[in-house]
Symmetry: C2
Subunit: 206 residues, 2 copies
């Protein structure tokens, strides 16, 4: 079933949860997914290509794009800007391809504000799942350690509120399988499909 437009999928989660590993494994299977290319003000390095590794801009250009709301998110590291250009994402979606963005939580929240129609997936640390199982199956262990982990857990769980889906990264292949299911089922949503058919049929009947 062809879609009129692609979908932006955003994978995020606490640092250290394994976002990069999951993304790399996913891209081995999902070859129709386009990886979102970032924009940066750092110098181009030997072996890199503009528009492939990054879009390279001067600071002035970058700041002017920020002012025009042309970045879905951006941040500054070590004196350089890095960000996600809106134009590349929108053009890729318009050509019918899904875009996949792997990003830190702060960046994901910016994207959510600038592009709420994206699908936001929170990669969940297995430690939190283990914690839950320990509580559920082994009763209350009120050690200081557990109590501290519970506090941390509470903070991490607050973070997930902006997301559409939560995937536990207990095993990379399981997490990848779940993300593939999310991608497939998002394309099956009635609103999307009804919109396509209605448009085509109305064009035809009228």
């Amino acid at each position: 079933m062809i879609d009129e437009k692609g979908i932006l999928f955003v994978l995020s989660g606490p640092s250290g949860v394994g976002k990069g590993t999951v993304r790399k494994e996913l891209f081995k299977y999902k070859t129709d997914l386009k990886y979102s290319i970032s924009m940066t003000t750092r110098d181009i390095r030997a072996g890199e290509t503009d528009g492939v590794d990054y879009f390279y801009k001067t600071k002035q250009e970058f700041e002017s794009l920020v002012e025009q709301n042309q970045l879905l998110e951006y941040a500054q590291y070590v004196n350089n800007y890095y960000g996600t250009p809106r134009a590349y994402v929108e053009e890729t979606l318009a050509s019918g391809h899904d875009v996949f963005l792997e990003i830190e939580v702060q960046g994901a929240l910016q994207v959510k504000e600038n592009f709420p129609e994206g699908v936001f997936i929170f990669l969940f640390p297995p430690s939190l799942e283990e914690l839950k199982n320990r509580i559920v199956y082994r009763g209350t262990e009120s050690t200081e350690l557990v109590r501290n982990r519970l506090k941390e857990a509470r903070n991490e769980i607050k973070l997930m509120d902006a997301y559409d889906y939560v995937v536990v990264n207990d095993q990379v292949d399981h997490a990848v399988g779940k993300i593939q299911s999310i991608i497939q089922s998002e394309h099956l949503k009635r609103e999307r499909i009804a919109r396509q058919y209605k448009k085509i049929l109305e064009d035809e009947i009228s």
Copy 2:
């Protein structure tokens, strides 16, 4: 990741679209899915078991359950009632199992009214997909045949408005794979998972 409750999945679509075939194939793989057992007023037959093939009731019992809103949907065929008992569905969900219901469009709309938290999947005739492709890829063929198919298509597409997902039944194994993705991704929705974690952590911290 354990869930607090199961999910009701409702598969429906125009008659002749192949709902029964898809359901049977799905059940070969998804052994953790419970098939919704119907209630009927027809006589029990040799080899049938109450609570396995059907729940058998008298007409009076059935009508009294209808009055108490204890059926998610029902219909009368050849002087007998057939319906979906709410209690069986709710108890099965409460025990943590998903329930799968395959049903005609009229029944599905009744279930939607009585149990809106279900996930409603519309099985789509491949003929309609072919029609769309013919229009999209081969330009306008304004024969009487195409025009009539377009009218029919319009009516069928109106039917899908109450559903959450649309799956084309072009090939049984494709349709089954898509339904499996929907089942998996519905379990990954943030609201569900956040609710579980918040409950467990709050019980623990408070």
